[in-house]
Amino acid sequence: MKNRGIEVLRNSLLLVTVGLFSLPLYYLLQTSLQNKGFGNYYNALTKINLGQNMINSGIVTVSTVLLVIAVALPAAFAFSKITFSGKNILFLILLMSLAIPGISIAVPVVQIVKGLGWTNNYLALIFPYTALLSPFALVLMRGFMDQLPKELLESALVDGCNVYQAFFRIYAPLAKPVVMIVTVFTFLGSWNEFLFAKLFMRKESMQMVTTIPIKFQVNFYTDIPGLFAALVLIQLPLLIIYILFQRVFKEGLTAGAVKS
């Protein structure tokens, strides 16, 4: 009987906790459908041109993901399979950057972006995002490369391949699982970034989804359901990716937590 009591208590605590966690999500969806129902979504896309901002975020995010993979995968291969002097210290320095808050380098990055004339240009976000997000990708990818046997490289070299061919034809294709994990995490990091998006994308037509609702908040002062429909739309690509790649997410979380 005593066990039964504990179980009831445990289950009701679990239900209350899940209820509290789901309440804000439910509130978001429910509010977004008030008044005009799906008309709110239609308005968000047509009246306030949310589509343009989603395209901007999409371009920046996809470019960042591709660039992060392009710079981190070869580096992970070299750190894992090639011996060179200064390797460990170089890796440690790259690791340090995992903890650097974006805000602490914002002033100089503003100067660099201004100097290059990149204000209101996608490159102003793609390049800093790549720098900020690639160290974590490197950690994940190196962990994966370390598990691939070095004999693959040795036998490829014996067979007359050079190191570059060995990387492109053997190791890069084998790294597909970790590339998926990196894609998901880089996508999240880039789509959700706020500070640089706010500093560099001033022109309305160039703004990202993370900053545009500040304008909506003014426009939608009396139309909260309209604002909330826009918010759901902003979140939709992430939710789709999360649902499609739930397993990848879990693997990434485990790998990330163990490696760091």
Partner: protein, 289 residues
């Protein structure tokens, strides 16, 4: 292993270029600017030595931001880890319902700060916010508070939102750590006569030491990086009661154009980040030995 300096350089050069231009150079430049008086626009900067650091260390708002950050850090990490651990433990067996529950708790992790801040600014609003409406409807009017406008409460409201956004992460990490732990250990300790509480505190919790360690490190680092959600919820207000080092740096740098002073705070943040990383590396080496 293959040895070749030149080949290695070709593979590592691209990531290093990004690292040097957009991370290391800005980092050093932040230290540089912190020794100048500069509004960020004028071509001329005035060298003032350590004056920015002096005014920073005499600035009560700097200490208030630091204190707020520490309160947030301790509360968020403790609650998030305990809650994540308990949720993972209770839902350790696979079932459809638990998968749905875990998904719901994880979704806030991937949400965008602007979305979260808008949801909660509406939930926490004094007049027609969801929480106060519910409280008034069940007759608890005296509990209806201005959750983000009262300086004594605002920090805790922010902390609650941050916990909402982060618990799913620690829960998921604990879930995967527990599956590798094997449930047999738990069953075995039950048979040996340990009760439920003992099983959790003396068997499961100690076995997850490495997970507690990495989660703590990850949480400290993400707390240090926290900016957007605080900025969007409260802008550090009211009366700096939710000010973090990051939001304080932002306001001084980009709203009042004191980029030298802002860079001094930025340098302080960088030093904190490096210190945390070094501590982490030392400790993880000790754990491995």
């Amino acid at each position: 292993m293959h040895k070749n300096r030149y080949t290695a350089f070709v593979f590592v050069a691209p990531i290093l270029i990004f690292f040097f231009v957009f991370l290391l150079y800005p980092l050093l430049y932040t230290f540089h600017i912190s020794f100048y008086e500069w509004n960020g626009i004028d071509p001329i900067k005035k060298f003032i030595g350590f004056d920015n650091y002096k005014s920073m260390f005499y600035d009560p708002l700097f200490y208030q931001s630091l204190r707020n950050f520490l309160v947030l850090c301790v509360l968020v990490i403790t609650i998030q880890m305990l809650l994540g651990f308990l949720l993972a433990y209770i839902m350790r067996r696979n079932s459809k319902l638990f998968t749905v529950f875990k998904t719901i708790i994880f979704i806030p992790v991937i949400l965008t700060a602007i979305v979260v801040s808008n949801i909660f600014n509406n939930i926490l609003a004094f007049n027609d916010g969801l929480i106060n409406t519910i409280l008034r409807n069940i007759g608890l009017d005296q509990l209806a508070m201005s959750w983000t406008a009262n300086p004594n409460i605002a920090l805790f409201s922010v902390i609650a939102v941050v916990i909402w956004m982060g618990t799913g992460f620690s829960m998921s990490v604990y879930v995967s750590a527990m599956t590798s732990l094997s449930l047999e250990v738990i069953e075995a300790s039950r048979i040996d006569g340990a009760n439920r509480v003992q099983t959790i505190t003396r068997v499961v919790w100690p076995m997850l030491r490495d997970t507690h360690f990495s989660l703590t490190i990850i949480s400290v680092i993400s707390a240090l990086k926290i900016f957007d959600i605080v900025y969007l919820l409260t802008r550090g207000g009211p009366m700096h009661s939710t000010e973090m080092l990051s939001t304080y740096m932002f306001t001084r740098t980009f709203d009042s154009y004191e980029q030298g002073f802002g860079s001094a705070i930025g340098s302080f943040l960088i030093v904190l980040a490096v210190v945390i990383t070094i501590i982490q590396m030392r400790l993880s080496r000790n754990i491995q030995n």
